[in-house]
Symmetry: D4
Subunit: 170 residues, 8 copies
């Protein structure tokens, strides 16, 4: 399951408890053969580590950073303020407020430092990786073709599931 080539996408999370959510990102990246890395750092518990990571990401060849965090989710915003790379935020449902706190803390960034926010939880983690693929596909024809196939398959899958549904009920 481990990445091998030089990573071009970094999947960052604020806590190891976010892994089950953020693995939805890595599954998609593997499906599109995008070299990636996983990185664990906290905006609050390890700020120096976070700053160092963000400052160096571009020169290490990273193109897109995906960040998952819960509660008062500052991690995506903090990283976005220390890099010029596109940063995609995934709010994680980690408190009794069910991710609404993480969503607002990620999406309501003031003008100047953008964070591209996805849905709360696994759907968001999955879409974060697909959004990274859309960015990378702008300059990569193979990836663009794979994206076309992926989207076609999603549509076909809907039709197949419809047929299955009909079968079960008839």
């Amino acid at each position: 399951m481990a990445p091998k080539a030089e990573p071009i996408v970094s999947v960052v999370m604020g806590s190891d408890s976010d892994l089950p959510v953020m693995e939805e990102s890595t599954k998609i990246l593997e499906q599109f053969a995008v070299p990636y890395e996983l990185f664990l750092t906290s905006a609050h518990r390890s700020p120096a580590r976070t700053t160092a990571f963000a400052k160096n990401a571009a020169q290490r060849g990273i193109k897109v950073i995906i960040v998952g965090a819960g509660a008062a989710a500052h991690l995506a915003g903090v990283i976005a303020s220390e890099t010029l790379l596109p940063v995609i935020g995934v709010p994680v449902d980690a408190t009794s407020l069910k991710g609404l706190d993480a969503l607002l803390a990620t999406v309501q960034m003031p003008g100047g430092i953008p964070v591209a926010t996805m849905a709360i939880g696994k759907a968001g983690a999955r879409n974060a990786a697909l959004f990274a693929v859309r960015i990378l596909a702008l300059e990569n024809e193979t990836m663009r073709n794979n994206l076309i196939k992926f989207v076609d398959n999603m549509a076909k899958d809907v039709a197949i599931k419809h047929e299955n549904l009909m079968g079960i009920r008839s």
Copy 2:
């Protein structure tokens, strides 16, 4: 104020009443000399126009699509389902619910079709354009350098405003 070169960013809005918000996007694009176009279409009132726009955007040379919409804001999601380009959504505060409806309708996309969601309103429109610039800067050194200057100026501006604040109060 009108764009001249072949546009590479499309700024789409669901209603002409969204213009004062979405002009925050166009101001940033002009500041970075990104050729752009404005496009008005509604997910619900002009679905064929919306589909045609989304299907043709890539082959017209568009790289990134920014979409502003209010209420049950479906426009960004609908466009994202008909293109493989990165789509950035800006929820607009257009109802008594103050943009919370537009935010949830834009950000809570199910897995498969990503919309990169920004903050509600003008800050979001501004950041949508800055996020487009971050994507374009991946393959454009001039833009990257302009982004460095932009970010430096933001930091300097904070220091200047601090000094002004001290001046006013002393």
Copy 3:
């Protein structure tokens, strides 16, 4: 359990995981002997399929469309924009936000394209079918009489449950 006659109500859902909710609609339709069909399609994953379905529904004899969807639930609005039939939306609780996202994305339609929104989840699916029956009963005396019986039975059922409650406690 499968429908036989030419369907006049279409029960559409965005994901096969919505089936346990939307079967509350089909149970009511069966109870009123309304011929119906089930249809699976996604606003985002299969947009062409969705558009084709919506454009053809009326000429296939469909009178009312019931649509269940969760998350950023665009499906009912998208279908309503491609047909002139009455479209009834059922928000499904499919994310950590407990259906509030689906409710707002379904009900807050901008002026021009109406979606008749029901409660989140099973109660809403049940009422969607009852609302379809109320529409059909406008021109169908048998159905109107069945509706009168249904409503009478509901009232009687309350009285019976009251008696049971008294029995249990005395």
Copy 4:
């Protein structure tokens, strides 16, 4: 502005302060030449009047009832429990909670008695009338044709507004 023919749609409101919102319904009904009546009654302040209205509506020839109400908006639900006609609810923004209270009190009906809920405020009132027209058009070819024209005009209007926008900015 007053209706003349025997009304087939009733536009009900809980307070005369709801009139500016509910006139969005009457404007649409007039545009489609649907004979309608206005009726003022309160679920709480005039319950007998409300019940009498609801019980007699069908035999007076009413086909669809549109109900606007704010705060703990019980009016649509109460009317729906005393008639078998389709009842469409419009939540009105009448308190500091900005219509969220009226929305939840209208849409979250328990299984058995459906209320077709529209968006909060004027957009919802407009769509309530358009939904009534969609129901009536099922059995009225003229109305169906008018609806086709209406929808075509909406789409054309988007294109015209786009051109105007281009004109203003060039």
Copy 5:
């Protein structure tokens, strides 16, 4: 567990599924020896039964009505509009919105018809009965004395629980 004397408090609920919540009311009433009755009726499914109940309650000797209901909880408001007795509403957590819908539908009554709203769920049901006792105690010295004892015991109970806590931890 069944009441014997002529009831002076009526504990009404909209569904037999509300019983586990509303039994918190009956336990308190039994503790204070207040004769009460249980009554099941639905604002929407049995409106005539509800109206008849409300209109006759006072002349049957009822002094206070406690009403529990969930979802778009109209029952307390509907009863309050047909009686002049004090009506106490208990919002029940019966949908995915966790009782927020029932709370707003119960408490946001427009001016003219008051419903005294308690907390969502069991705490609210308990307090509804205690509030009824406070009303009855205005004219009943025994009940007032029992209330003094009840309140004293609550305070003593806190001190005892504190001691237990100390015991467990030392």
Copy 6:
């Protein structure tokens, strides 16, 4: 406008800025000729004054206490914990959260100490007084008769407003 007889209802508020809201209570009390007093005290800024007020209210002849407060509205709960009289809470819209904070802080009382909560703002203040009248009318036939007239007039007023509406529009 000042009360003269020995007050039996106390209208308490946490801040003099709550007066425009709470005067809706006093207007109703004057209309029903209920002797009342106004009292200003803060749960937090004047706790001793609040406790003294609450402890003595009953022996001064007060029967019902109405309490208006905004923000983290503790005043009604604090008073209810120091008296055995019925306490009615009116949440006041006094912060950017529009009274939602005051509503939850007033209504979500834990089991043991009830506060009868009314709607946010003026409608709630009006209903608080009407609820006090309903309590007092239990033992006061004149007040009960006045309440009957009041309720009749509300219903008549709806009919009159309906006629006015018809007049304006014809």
Copy 7:
């Protein structure tokens, strides 16, 4: 587990059911060797006990008071109004509203009486104790040094967890 020295921090809770949450506070205090006490009292069920506690805390040598409470959480505000010590509030998730009620009732204190509010639940209880330590460390060099170690360990722990994550996945 019991404290021995004269306590300088008091950990107060409104119900013994809050203990599992508030023990997160006591664990941190033990880790920093801060002498503390546990105290159970309710704002509403034992107001005299609460007032006595708050009034005497400072002269008993208490420096900081941590208060956990759920529902309409008045306890922290009530204590803060009777002492001049810093009071830290921990909202507890104790109702169907998942702690949002406790959060707003704790944090939205009107000007004059501050309550330092922490996150809902265990994270908040943990941080309440860490905030108390930050206050105490202002005048206590040992504690300051322990805080430096604690913060260093948190950062190191992030790096270790990162390595573990890499190990699991490689």
Copy 8:
């Protein structure tokens, strides 16, 4: 209005538009003769400036840091992660979500790094300064005495306002 002595409290804000709110803090600090400084820095637009400020605050003699910020308010959390001083956060109402975003982004800090959160807006800014005074008063008898007077005056002020209210109305 400018501070002269070496500051021991720092009042930080993320934008000069927060000044009208945060001056409520400085007014209180002046009233208690607490030497303070104002500092403008943004978590996102000037991260290096923010880190430098936070790292040096303690050695410059600062004892308490008050931080006001709006939208996805990360500033208090970011500063708290780079200092061991007590950090007090004031959520500012700066977006269409009325400060709910800033509140959740400030208060829902994960375990490890506490931010003492106050109410949204001016009341919160005022209380932030009063909380700083409560901390400083632990080791400063003059300040403690001033706090006693302040609290006494607040209580007296309530009584005076009550008398004024009586005067106006009699």
